[in-house]
């Protein structure tokens, strides 16, 4: 088995988006990071290994697409004619969108191995791996399967409150135990600016993500505020980075992507 000959041979950097907690915005951050990197001229793939709740296809408005096979395996779904963003998700394999994937660990592990080995990504600058919440089968299998390809590391997403941070601390331990470098922590849903009067309310508290990064000695990538225009974009599968550069979440999301790019260019030099 030679990593050089595999479907991931043309992928320059692999990064995982993790969280201990559900509902904090992993898929959102994965999506916006992909869009930002695309706007910096990069070719990006997203591998969605959330088998029970695959959110990625809809966020790019390709939820009705099918997946085709080629000689080297599955052809990823391109989100537009540019072919600058490609996706793979169990969402494309379901007969009906409401079908539940009620699988125990071993079956999930088998599909994840296939997803890692059998998608013909071609040449990519970045492969972003979006995960479900937790530290279980999907995470163990994904990290094991990706290990020969030396992933760049993981971005951890949390919301500001202690209840969320409490789970993300455990995810940090997961990274340490599995040898996955932590590229940084994102504090998502960090504050809401009322569009009517501009008053800022910390609906889910504030600062927990930044504090955790400091305490754990990992980079803090920034706070992303709650932004109804962002939520709306995701609902409609639109390109938030292109269409809403003046929106409140834009600067933070662009900054996260920039830090990832800076990190990789430092690596090469």
């Amino acid at each position: 088995f030679l990593p050089e000959r595999s479907n991931l041979a043309g992928v320059r950097h692999i990064l995982l988006v993790l969280s201990g907690k559900g509902g904090v915005g992993k898929s959102t951050i994965s999506t916006e990071l992909a869009l930002s990197l695309r706007h910096s001229g990069k070719k990006v793939g997203i591998l969605d290994v959330d088998l029970c709740g695959p959110s990625i296809p809809r966020m790019f408005r390709v939820q009705d697409n099918d997946v085709h096979q080629c000689d080297s395996g599955w052809v990823p779904v391109f989100v537009d004619q540019d072919k600058s963003i490609s996706l793979m998700s169990i969402g494309f394999l379901l007969e009906k969108p409401d079908d539940a994937v009620v699988w125990r660990g071993p079956k999930k592990n088998a599909l994840i191995k296939q997803f890692v080995a059998d998608v013909a990504w071609g040449d990519l600058d970045f492969l972003i791996v979006d995960t479900p919440p937790g530290t279980s089968d999907e995470h163990i299998s994904t990290v094991e399967a990706l290990r020969p390809y030396k992933p760049l590391g993981a971005i951890l997403v949390t919301t500001p409150q202690a209840v969320s941070v409490g789970d993300v601390r455990r995810e940090l331990t997961f990274c340490k135990k599995t040898g996955l470098q932590v590229l940084g922590i994102v504090e998502n849903m960090s504050g809401f600016v009322c569009p009517h009067c501009s008053e800022c309310t910390n609906i889910f508290s504030k600062g927990g993500g930044e504090e955790l990064a400091k305490h754990a000695g990992v980079p803090f990538l920034g706070c992303v505020p709650l932004d109804p225009q962002l939520s709306q974009s995701l609902e409609e599968g639109r390109d938030f980075i292109q269409e809403f550069p003046k929106s409140s979440a834009f600067p933070a999301l662009a900054h996260i992507a920039q830090q990832i790019l800076d990190g990789t260019s430092q690596q090469s030099s």
Binding site: S27, G105, S136, R170, T201
Partner: protein, 233 residues
């Protein structure tokens, strides 16, 4: 008499939310004893078995299932009126196991939580399908984080917009009850972080009113089912 069982093995949030962080589980002749918040509210979670807040439970399915079985078999709950089981997101080992292990007794049903956007609803439809598959009755759906009223100007914002009609439309389409909508309230997160009862801390909040209405509907549903069962007997 209420028991709260937290089967989110990887992300056990209940101890913190109940103000029980740092508590340990004690063993006796009759099994593990739950940790009591009040005399009539006992809690069990893997959180109580971990020695540090950084400890990660990095287990595959079978090991998680084993612990869930122990929680059901070895915890000395005593006589209880309600056993509430908090689950992780998904439709996998934990969910299959809890339904399977409780199949010898009866489960009144499941309360399903969503937020208003389609990104959430699309997963919740799968969860409802899961319930149908395993013959778990659906008591109803709760739409959480349903709108935010600015404390300064009192205008409402739909932070998580119901672009496809929210839980209301989904419930109509799937013929399940909408138990209620809970608005965003910064005090909810604060209370949970401090391990205090939001209902006691913010009795005037619109969210408190929503919670209480939802809880009442759940109780009515359970009472009705018992009444029906007694009629059959």
């Amino acid at each position: 008499q209420v028991a709260l069982l937290d089967i989110d093995i990887c992300g056990p949030s209940i101890p913190k939310m109940m103000g029980l962080e740092g508590e340990q589980v004690h063993q006796s002749g009759s099994g593990w004893s739950p940790v009591y918040v009040e005399e009539n509210l006992g809690v069990m979670s893997v959180g109580f078995l971990l020695s540090s807040p950084d400890d990660a439970v990095i287990w595959r399915g079978p090991k998680k299932n084993g612990l869930i079985k122990q929680f059901l078999r070895d915890v000395d709950w005593g006589e209880i009126d309600y056993l509430i089981v908090d689950t992780p997101p998904g439709t996998s080992d934990e969910h299959l196991s809890i339904v399977q292990y409780l199949s010898a007794t009866h489960i009144d049903g499941a309360v399903i939580i969503t937020t208003p956007q389609e990104v959430s609803l699309q997963d919740v439809r799968k969860e409802i399908n899961f319930c149908h598959k395993v013959k778990l009755p659906v008591i109803g759906v709760v739409e959480n984080m349903s709108g935010f009223i600015c404390p300064k100007c009192k205008n409402e914002s739909q932070i998580f917009p119901p672009t496809t009609g929210g839980a209301e439309k989904m419930c109509q389409n799937l013929n399940v009850s909408l138990l209620g909508k809970v608005p965003l309230d910064p005090q909810i997160g604060k209370s949970c972080d401090k391990g205090q009862s939001f209902l006691s801390e913010a009795p005037e909040s619109p969210a408190t009113l929503s919670y209480r209405n939802i809880i009442q509907r759940i109780q009515e549903y359970c009472d009705q089912r018992h009444f029906q069962e007694e009629k059959i007997i």
